[in-house]
């Protein structure tokens, strides 16, 4: 599987459109998943995914075989997401607060089934933007602190610090919930 992927990447870098399509197909789900984690909304996630796919296609020819492909892809998704948030803030409804990019719960297809998920998306939305990006990369997509740091464009120690902060915050939220439901 991994070897297959490597072959596909090599072929894509050398300009094989068929291989490139297969490669994107392979990664579409994880790109979409990450976009969804970041924006918490299906259609927006699909928009972001689409833009990210095009960005990938415009840059794959310059991809360096010695770097890790998934990290490279996640960096693109992350940047796409950031641009998208900025774009919306600039064009759409004037100035929009940061948490507008956060989950828009009412739009989910089946709110009842997604209750648990929504709860977690809500918790995520309570984090700072950069913290959210960091934990999504590290925990939802399995990047190491170092890889996440290169994707986020910050120091590795910053990533570790943010992870630490998020741990504290989420534990706090959780306890808050427990207390709330208990009393």
């Amino acid at each position: 599987m991994e070897r297959d992927e490597k072959i596909l990447i090599q072929l894509s870098v050398s300009g094989d459109a068929g291989a490139f399509r297969a490669l994107l197909d392979l990664h579409y789900m994880s790109v979409y998943k990450m976009a969804f984690h970041l924006c918490g909304h299906r259609e927006n996630a699909e928009d972001i995914t689409q833009i990210a796919c095009i960005k990938i296609s415009q840059n794959i020819l310059n991809f360096q075989m010695n770097s890790k492909f998934t990290t490279w892809i996640y960096t693109i998704v992350l940047n796409t997401y950031r641009d998208w948030v900025e774009n919306r803030a600039n064009t759409g409804k004037g100035k929009v607060a940061l948490d507008d990019a956060a989950p828009r719960l009412s739009n989910n297809d089946n709110p009842e089934n997604n209750a648990a998920a929504n709860e977690q998306l809500r918790q995520l939305s309570m984090l700072l933007e950069e913290e959210r990006e960091t934990v999504i990369l590290v925990f939802a997509h399995g990047l190491s602190h170092k890889e996440a740091a290169s994707a986020l464009g910050c120091a590795e120690s910053t990533v570790s610090w943010r992870v630490h902060e998020v741990r504290k915050k989420l534990s706090g939220i959780k306890e808050g919930i427990k207390e709330g439901s208990g009393s």
Binding site: I7, L11, G15, T49, S57, L121, R167
Partner: protein, 710 residues
């Protein structure tokens, strides 16, 4: 909160499944953007190529691989590369001087150089290290493992065949310099006849400027004069063997994708025409395996002339009734296969082919590099994982003992021979054989003998730069097989999955076509293409003469251009020959088409005949459309060959005809062809690739090299 909890936190988020239509749209847009990017990069290259600084002008790129302009730090590698090349050459030269036994030709030489480089790698490594900056890294370290090769020799047909596949992988730890040096040296020396080695610094796509030898333009094609116009009075009969190969089309496509007109000899009209599927009416039964459609219409190339298109459709085998297969994959793992377009693509292609086989079919794998070895003993396709892992473990390195490999592959096929099955060796290679039986005649004789014992040979060509088209053609033709050229994943799918029937299961063999023109209706004619397949008139009825095979569901199309009586012919009437009144008893016949074939297991041929009259001018719309398409492709191919016989035909005319007759085109092959016409139009404005010449302007670096080693 612990790490596991956080992991779980995300796992429990229920991500709604994405819309599949949106996905398709996103992928389509991305692929379109990818293509656009590719051509944008390509245009940039052209600009760069015409740079005004002396350095820029000296560099010729292997087309689309260049992405950046050079900066000072990159130049370092180039100078470094030159220095390394010189060291490698000197090392090689010393070695030659001391090895008097190895003196039979440049091919041997390349092997010896590869070996010596492996031994001398440390010397080079020191020099190399100094030149290499910290950021410079080899993209794919694949080493030609000398040790592994010897191991292969010692244990041919050993049971623990996996060990061999793994051995090269272990050797990959060897310094990357080894690959680097051996990659350069043999190539410069192989061109032994020339006093200079043309050298080019390429951008290797892996992110660094790697000094490498110019490899483009070493593709070998045989030169065949285009079939010319024949006078019916002098030569009323035309005979040829069918050709189902498609290699030429893929090669032309690759060349045009790089923005270069292909070498004229690389274009074979019949292979381009036969690349496409045609919706000719199907034959009813396996007993009469073909149906011939003859269509006569006005020639789009020359006013007044007419085209006679002979389309043959063979009987298609149901997937369930397909015969068993005993396949031996013979895979070239020599150093030159270390390229994303070669070994990796080959692995993907074969794993795709596995999906089309039945679980009871048997597959074995033989590799050859410096020596040949069995990597996988015959294994049933039901144990797919075993086959796949053997395939995946292959790595490239060493020189090319193709002849040895062929022997071993046939031996294996023979062991497992099943007279009710299709026994076939599938050779995958990027080019020439330089060790073992290297004499094409000897190899050909060997393959012919094996063919008569029931083992056929198919050839899949990969990569450019070293492709020996002439040899591949010859071998496949004599081995009752198909020669296909695979340059992309899509092409692999076409050849090995969609057309698996045609590639694997022969319906008839030794299919010959003979056309006799009626002198009272036709003054002269010309067979378009099939130059390499022309037979003597007497060969038609001689069952001993080998000819092309046709696989299940395949279509073969041949086009004749003829001049009806009354239209000014190209050849003048003879002034002195006696004017003999031609009295034809069948005056309304234009020509008489005869097809001879043998069923796969028979030795006597059968005959199908079709008289061609003016009635053949009217047929149903589908056949007309398909015929028009074939003629558009034939026109295009002839333009690429120089347009000697196509009058005023232009690329735009072809474009119009192609667009009008595209039909359903479910797999997009015809659309791709239309794109090719655009590319050819652009490329035509640029200098063509000369025969055996290099792309662009390679710099010629004088090298201290003897003229010939013979």
């Amino acid at each position: 909160m612990k790490d596991e909890e956080l992991n779980q936190f995300f796992e429990t988020i229920d991500v709604p499944p994405p819309d599949s239509e949106r996905k398709k749209k996103a992928l389509n847009m991305a692929v379109a953007a990818f293509e656009a990017q590719k051509s944008a990069n390509f245009k940039n290259n052209l600009k760069n190529r015409q740079g005004s600084s002396w350095f820029a002008r000296l560099i010729s790129q292997t087309t689309s691989e260049r992405k950046d302009t050079m900066n000072a730090s990159n130049k370092k590698y180039i100078y470094g590369g030159l220095a390394t090349a010189c060291i490698a050459l000197m090392v090689g030269a010393n070695y030659i001087a001391t090895q008097s036994t190895r003196s039979d030709g440049s091919a041997e030489l390349s092997q010896t150089i590869a070996e010596i480089n492996a031994q001398e790698e440390i010397n080079i490594a020191n020099a190399e290290e100094a030149l290499r900056s910290e950021s410079y890294a080899m993209p794919i370290p694949v080493a030609p493992p000398v040790a592994a090769r010897t191991e292969v020799v010692e244990t041919p047909l050993a049971e623990e065949s996996f060990a061999m596949a793994e051995a090269p992988a272990m050797d990959m730890a060897a310094p990357s310099v080894q690959t680097h040096a051996s990659k350069m040296a043999p190539q410069s020396l192989v061109g032994g006849a020339a006093p200079m080695a043309s050298m080019v610094m390429g951008y290797d796509g892996g992110g660094a400027y790697a000094p490498q030898m110019e490899i483009e333009g070493r593709d070998k094609f045989s030169y065949d004069e285009e079939n010319s116009v024949k006078q019916v009075k002098a030569e009323p009969v035309s005979t040829f063997s069918i050709d189902v190969d498609t290699a030429s089309y893929s090669f032309v496509r690759q060349s045009l994708d790089n923005g270069i007109l292909p070498q004229k000899d690389a274009v074979r009209v019949e292979e381009m025409v036969n690349y496409f599927d045609y919706a000719y009416p199907k034959p009813e039964s396996k007993e009469e395996p073909f149906k011939a459609n003859v269509v006569v219409k006005d020639s789009p190339w020359n006013a007044g002339k007419k085209l006679m298109t002979v389309g043959i459709k063979s009987f298609d085998v149901e997937k369930t009734s397909a015969p068993d297969s005993n396949l031996v994959f013979l895979i070239d793992t020599s150093g030159s296969m270390d390229d994303p377009h070669k070994l990796p693509l080959l692995k993907q292609s074969f794993s795709m082919l596995l999906d089309t086989l039945k679980p009871t079919d048997k597959v074995s794998i033989v590799v050859y590099a410096g020596a040949a070895g069995v990597v996988l003993q015959p294994t049933e396709v039901s144990k797919k994982n075993e086959i796949l892992s053997a395939l995946q473990n292959l790595s490239a390195g060493g020189s090319t003992a193709g002849g040895e490999g062929i022997r071993l592959a046939y031996q294996l096929a023979q062991q497992n021979f099943d007279k009710n099955a299709v026994n076939r060796v599938m050779l995958a290679t990027d080019g020439d054989f330089n060790v073992g039986i290297t004499e094409p005649g000897e190899l050909q004789g060997f393959i012919e003998r094996e063919r008569d014992s029931g083992i056929f040979l198919s050839i899949l060509g990969f990569g450019t730069g070293n492709y020996n088209d002439a040899l591949m053609q010859k071998l496949a033709q004599n081995g009752n097989g198909v020669a296909a050229y695979i340059d992309t994943l899509n092409e692999a799918r076409k050849v090995l999955v969609e057309e698996a029937g045609a590639t694997l299961f022969p319906i008839a063999k030794d299919v010959k076509i003979q056309v006799e023109f009626n002198p009272s209706a036709v003054s002269e004619y010309r067979l378009v293409g099939y130059e390499t397949r022309v037979l003597a008139t007497e060969d038609f009825n001689n069952d001993k003469v080998d000819a092309g095979d046709i696989g299940a569901g395949a279509e073969v199309t041949a086009v004749y251009e003829f001049t009806p009586l009354g239209v000014t012919p190209m050849i003048d009437e003879s002034r002195y020959a006696l004017k003999v009144e031609t009295k034809a008893n069948v005056s309304d016949e234009i020509a008489f088409v005869k097809i001879r074939y043998k069923l796969p297991k028979e030795i006597t041929s059968k005959l199908i005949t079709t008289p061609v009259t003016s009635d053949n001018e009217i047929t149903d719309a589908t056949v007309i459309r398909e015929t028009n398409w074939a003629e558009a492709v034939a026109g295009f191919a002839q333009l690429l060959k120089g347009g000697k016989f196509t009058g005023t035909l232009t690329y735009d005319d072809v474009l119009k005809a192609a667009n009008a007759n595209k039909g359903d085109d479910p797999f997009g092959y015809r659309s791709e062809f239309i794109n090719l016409i655009y590319k050819a139009k652009t490329a035509a404005a640029m200098p063509a690739q000369g025969n055996g010449g290099a792309v662009g302007e390679p710099i010629l670096v004088p090298q201290p090299m003897p003229y010939q080693y013979r």
